[in-house]
Symmetry: C2
Subunit: 347 residues, 2 copies
DNA sequence: TTGAAAGCGCTAACAT
DNA sequence: ATGTTAGCGCTTTCAA
């Protein structure tokens, strides 16, 4: 009874147990029609050989379904993304599916490279936080049965499911709050306008200012900061103006951290409201008022939607909005210099 | 020329281009020996059909190497773990390998379930932050060519590579620092002793106390807190004692956050040093002195070691230690009440 | 209840 | 330079 080298296969188990290949397959997959005595012999052989079914071969033969899904995000170590990843993974686990993930580092080429690798590995579906803005290449895939759901930013040139934050609405929440404290010169610190989320949040800022009857001073917009250090420098530039802003709206968590450092160092009286909540925001030297939303909810919704597509749902693409709320912690509840008494009424 | 249904295969490309299967394979894999004209025809067919090589079939035939590795960690959303995951992913990417990850939620059964799924998917190797304490079942796997590297905690009953933090040494750093400020009643807030890292850090605490000539007051050890809320309650219990500690050593990041909340609320004069650094620790109301180490370094080292094993390195298992350092931010540089002047000298 | 044969999509080994 | 054949480890189909 010569067994093959290396890792044992069903054939090895079969010859060890003295049964046919198919009987082993039946036992391994819990199919009925095997006498208990025979099944026991097979189980013994499996145990002694240390056999483990090869899932690659299984899904090759069995066709559709590798029981894996792919996730493409910016950076697995960023809390915003890792919250999404964790939520996706939890849903996948419930569907007996494993998660393969890759960090695009916000690079469109890298994104496509990862998507390709995932598709070659025949994932059952994709969840993508897009870095690029052209996803036509995924059209064929949808036809071939590999659905994709987009998160945080919409796909380019492709009709697909997408989960978005209510970016403009959240920004209005923040700016309205500052306006109600009596602020008018409200500076903005944020990432590049080329990012969908930045653009939407700036849109909300403009809408709120305009609705309150204020002209937007373009000099108060300091955009393009990808990290906290750049945001800190940008905020300092704002605070060094001859007529500095009395309040600052930072458009994401990195920018909020940078803005906070600059404000604490340069002009502690400046009000600050940030988009995105983050851990320990309440324990900071200046507890930070933020526009909160739930990244985990985005991940869960995206994954649930994806599995519905995998299970054959062919209804038109859906767009879901994650709602936002204002969390007051102190940094946003600061009046402009010279104002006293109760909150100013808007006219 | 009837093409098969669904996703196009090499066979489909071959018949579309009017060449043989093998020629397509040559073009797809960039093998030499195909005339440019023919290659171009094949490329055209690939483009029009939207063909994508099936990596499952490829690695099935080609034997060894699925170009995936598996990662089992406690919780993908915990910054400590996500830093590891990111570092592992970066190294994997350099080796043209994708990362499949699963969260064990610190549950040994779940850990084993995930490891099984990964092994059935024929990952080339495993990186495990173990929740369980018996890994004999991985012995067969090592024989079958699937190496495993353990991170943060050693494997149970298995000789394998492992990357550990210098837990005891880091704890000594923290406690010595507090002793030098003149503290003697140093309380400890931490997770369960059943966790390897907690046990090692407590060992360091005891060693430092003993070396300084102090008896350890067992009543000052409040262990078993898995999260910040439990740690906060535990710290309050310490601070409510008739002779409360004048300093606290918290044995991980969750416990540090809880301890900080309790200290700020109950006894702001209490010194605090925590194990594990965390983001914004310097911007807190009370900037926290910590024992810092580099989780990303653990991930990188583990991944590099794993790929060496995958590439056939059969030297004896290695154990690597990640070094720690003390970062002074203020919370640990507080004298006990009643002491004045320069730092007390130890005798 | 059990088994033999065919084949999933690809690559290795050998023709031509 | 190109094609044919066999077979990776499994499941499906059909037969005994």
């Amino acid at each position: 009874m010569s067994l093959s080298q290396g890792r044992p296969t069903m054939r090895d188990v079969a010859s060890t147990a003295g049964v046919s290949l198919k009987t082993v397959s039946r036992v391994v997959n819990g199919e009925p029609g095997v006498r208990p005595a025979v099944a026991a012999r097979v189980q013994d052989a499996i145990a002694t050989l240390g056999f483990r079914r090869n899932d690659l071969a299984r899904s090759l033969r069995h066709g559709r379904r590798s029981s894996t899904i792919g996730l493409v995000i910016g950076d697995l170590a960023n809390p915003f993304y890792s919250a999404i990843a964790r939520a996706v993974e939890a849903v996948a686990h419930r569907h007996q599916t494993m998660l393969i993930s890759g960090s695009s580092e916000e690079d469109p080429d890298r994104e496509r490279e990862i998507v390709n690798a995932l598709l070659e590995r025949r994932v059952d579906g994709l969840i993508v936080v897009p870095a690029g803005n052209d996803h036509r290449y995924l059209n064929d895939e949808a036809d071939n049965g590999t659905p994709a759901v987009f998160v945080d930013r919409p796909p380019g040139n492709l009709a697909a499911d997408v989960i978005l934050i209510d970016n403009a609405g959240g920004a209005v929440l923040a700016v309205d709050h500052l306006l109600r404290q009596g602020h008018v010169r409200i500076g903005v610190v944020g990432d590049a306008m080329s990012l969908y989320t930045t653009a939407q949040r700036i849109k909300g800022y403009r809408a709120a200012m305009t609705a309150a009857g204020h002209l937007v001073d373009e000099g108060l917009l300091e955009l393009g900061s990808h990290n906290a250090d750049a945001a800190e420098a940008a905020t300092r530039r704002l605070l060094e103006r001859s007529a500095p802003p009395t309040a600052i709206f930072s458009t994401n968590n990195r920018n909020t951290v940078g803005a906070l450092r600059a404000v604490l160092a340069e002009a502690p009286g400046t009000a600050l409201v940030g988009f995105d909540d983050f851990e320990l925001a309440d324990l900071l030297a200046r507890p930070v008022t933020v526009v909160r939303h739930d990244p985990a909810e985005m991940g869960s919704l995206a994954a649930e939607l994806l599995f519905r597509r995998i299970d054959g749902d062919t209804r038109p693409p859906r767009r879901k909005l994650i709602r936002t709320e204002l969390v007051q912690r102190g940094s946003g509840e600061v009046r402009p210099p010279g104002e006293r008494g109760p909150r100013a009424k808007r006219t």
